[in-house]
């Protein structure tokens, strides 16, 4: 786990896109937070709330977070209550749900799929409640955020894609042009280009995290355009099924869903929040919680899945060698890196920091279909 809490505030804030005034403000707020942590709560009295973007049965993102909830339940069986709400939309309904958590006496609330200012509105008005926002980008005295360094396993899967694709044309089914998608597409293509410098990546944005029909259409269109390796960031398996039918490779996100396309399945960016949630709840109960910014590292919350049945052994071996290298401290995200317009964005020799990778909002050369 990389806890970047210890990074100097100034250094951290300089890296973020936040403007001067905003940076100054959130800096001040953060000092208050560390001065007065929330008091300890007895396990029997504690109420923990979780709000999810989808249903816990989605076999994807929400399912993985739900496993974390179950882990908390197992570790702290005496908790007074765990509140869990599915399908929290990105709308004023999210505000209502989180306010309701507070009304029911929640001591700590996790927003497992960033609802942004709909959550922050509640955070502001509930100074005695600890909030954690997954994929959040805002610091407040009682709000921290967490995410995972998915760009590393994505790079590893990219290496496999570069070796396995015959056409050198890779496809990506994207949700929205957000940082997760920029870092995902960029890392994927960089991995592929490390073995096939001519590889390109075509992206289709479908404006949803969960829309099997649109994802299947996008997958079909990408294959029609000559892509023979699909990747994406979906909470379900639709484009894997398309790949299986059309006989091309596919890599997925969240969980092992190879049974939807056993012949096409290459790997998945698998996620695991169990330890993190148990640790956070433990800190809150002990009165030691303060808002932190955490990016779970590869091997500690995010990783590539066990390779698919049809992945050639030499591909798995080569990709895993890269994985070991990254685990050993090497970063593939080292300059020179150019954006899609050819401007040098990361000078030669400079390595992108975790926070820069987290906030990545431009496409590298070779990625098409994402408007930056």
């Amino acid at each position: 786990m990389i806890d970047i809490r210890n990074l100097s505030r100034r250094g951290f804030l300089n890296m973020t896109a936040a403007g001067g005034a905003a940076a100054l403000m959130s800096g001040t707020l953060a000092r208050q937070a560390f001065a007065a942590p929330l008091a300890a709560v007895k396990e029997e009295d504690a109420i923990i709330g979780f709000g999810h973007v989808g249903p816990v049965t989605d076999e994807g993102w929400t399912w993985a977070h739900h496993q974390g909830v179950l882990a908390v339940k197992e570790k702290y069986p005496k908790l007074k209550k765990i509140l869990e709400v599915e399908n929290v939309p990105y709308s004023a309904d999210a505000t209502r749900t989180y306010r309701q958590f507070v009304s029911e006496g929640a001591n700590m609330i996790f927003d497992t799929s960033s609802t942004g200012d709909f959550l922050h509105d509640v955070v502001k008005r509930s100074p005695k409640v600890a909030f954690m926002e997954c994929d959040g980008r805002t610091d407040m005295p009682n709000l921290g955020w967490y995410y995972l360094a998915h760009w590393y396993p994505t790079y590893v899967i990219g290496v496999a894609a570069g070796m396995m694709s015959k056409t050198g044309k890779l496809g990506y089914v994207a949700s929205f042009p957000v940082p997760s998608v920029f870092s995902g597409t960029n890392a994927f293509l960089m991995g592929a280009r490390s073995v096939n410098p001519k590889a390109t990546l075509q992206t289709i944005v479908i404006n949803s995290w969960f829309d099997p029909q649109a994802a299947a259409q996008a997958g079909t269109a990408l294959i029609d355009n000559g892509c023979d390796f699909l990747f994406g960031i979906m909470d379900e398996a639709a484009y894997l099924q398309v790949a299986e039918k059309r006989g091309v490779w596919a890599a997925m996100w969240n969980t092992d869903i190879r049974r939807y396309g056993p012949n096409s399945y290459v790997s998945s960016v698998v996620i695991d929040f169990k330890d993190f949630y148990v640790d956070q709840v433990g800190q809150r109960l002990a009165g030691k919680w303060s808002p932190s910014q955490t990016i779970l590292a590869m091997g500690k919350g995010v990783d590539r899945d066990k390779w698919g049945e049809k992945v050639p052994a030499e591909v798995a071996k080569a990709a895993d060698a890269v994985r070991d290298k990254i685990l050993g401290g090497w970063s593939p995200f080292t300059g020179e890196i150019k954006d899609a317009k050819g401007n040098v964005k990361v000078p030669a020799g400079k390595t992108m920091s975790e926070v820069e990778l987290y906030h990545w909002d431009w496409s590298i050369e070779g990625v098409s279909g994402l408007s930056a």
Binding site: G49, V85, S91, A92, T97, R99, R125, S175, V178, N207
Partner: protein, 345 residues
């Protein structure tokens, strides 16, 4: 001795009120029964609902936040009923108002106070414009407003969805527009000044309808159009005006939602307020003052939905409960016109 069922030409307010209360109680009982069957304890759940909505400051604020748009869409439907027009399109007009308010807030640079006034005017105007075609079609070609207003709801919803995820979308938050800078100030927690304004609109309209010549003519045109025409009342002109007003109020509700609560435009921003507004109006029996109370009641039901979700129930449970209330109210409404008499032999 024989019993006879008699249909009365009109029901008394007391019986109509009783019919609604019985309908609501029955709906709650049926819901409780379903909860028991599915293994929940309805008393525990009811206790949780009451304590965290009526006896909690956050809960009360939530009620208020849901109440504002609901009462206004209810008012929009109820005002149409005065002249015999069923505005099923409050949902669409709500979207139109939210759309216009967001456009003004995002693209017309102005100080906040001016921006809010422009957004308010824009909300009214957009709601009226959205109902303009159904209004003219009804006034001049006798096209049923039930269908025309309903169909425009889908157009408005899709239009908003398109701009919020397309041309106006915000890079970071992906499924909504950027934040609209001008916000209606709040006076108690999340409750903003739209709250008293909404109630004021209802009271003023109720007074105008009951105390002015215009109001009298509108009510007469609604209850008996041919008699009104015969009496020389410009029924068509009143119809057009009342329907436009109905649309404008729903549009204003959309503006309040953007400027007061959500601060962004996004697909689904209406939260079905337009449709639930129909229920608010039906429960209020078309009374503009009654809408304030039934609006509060429906806000309570909607808010209960969120509470029940945190207790492990699905949203559909609440949707079903809302439907039950409407269903039973409709039956009760019809039954309130009947009485059972005993024949004297």
């Amino acid at each position: 001795m024989a019993y006879r069922i008699q249909r009365l030409p009109s029901s008394t307010p007391l019986i109509a009120f009783a019919a609604r209360v019985i309908a609501v109680v029955l709906a709650l009982l049926v819901t409780a029964l379903i909860l028991v069957i599915t293994g929940h304890n309805p008393f525990e759940l009811a206790g949780e609902v009451l304590s965290s909505s009526l006896f909690d400051s956050f809960g009360l604020q939530d009620l208020g936040v849901i109440f504002m748009p609901l009462m206004l869409t209810g008012l929009s439907v109820a005002i149409g009923q005065q002249i015999g027009a069923w505005n099923i399109g409050a949902e669409g007009q709500f979207y139109a108002g939210a759309f216009a308010a967001t456009a003004i807030g995002l693209f017309i640079p102005a100080p906040d106070w001016l921006s809010l006034i422009l957004m308010g005017v824009g909300g009214f105007a957009a709601g009226a414009i959205w109902i303009l075609v159904p209004t003219l079609a009804k006034a001049y070609a006798d096209v049923s407003e039930l269908i025309s207003t309903l169909l425009l709801n889908f157009v408005a919803a899709l239009l908003v969805y398109y701009v919020a995820t397309g041309p106006w979308h915000d890079r970071m938050t992906n499924s909504a527009t950027p934040k609209v800078a001008a916000e209606i100030p709040e006076f108690w927690g999340a409750i903003h000044w739209g709250f008293p304004i909404a109630i004021l609109i209802a009271i003023v309209l109720a007074l105008v309808l009951s105390n002015t010549k215009w109001g009298y003519e509108v009510r007469l045109s609604g209850s008996n159009p041919s008699a009104a025409k015969y009496a020389g009342i410009p029924v068509r002109r009143h119809l057009i005006m009342v329907m436009l007003l109905s649309g404008a109020i729903a549009g204003f509700a959309g503006m309040l939602e953007v400027a007061g609560t959500v601060h962004r435009l996004q697909g689904g921003i209406s939260n079905n307020y337009g449709y639930i507004g129909i229920m608010v109006a039906v429960l209020a029996r078309g009374s503009l003052i009654g809408v304030i109370f039934t609006g509060a009641f429906m806000a309570f039901i909607q808010n209960s939905g969120i509470i029940l979700q945190t207790q492990g129930l699905t949203t559909s449970a609440v949707l079903a409960m809302t439907g039950l209330i409407l269903f039973l109210t409709a039956i009760g409404e019809e039954l309130s016109y009947y009485r059972i008499t005993r024949d004297k032999v």
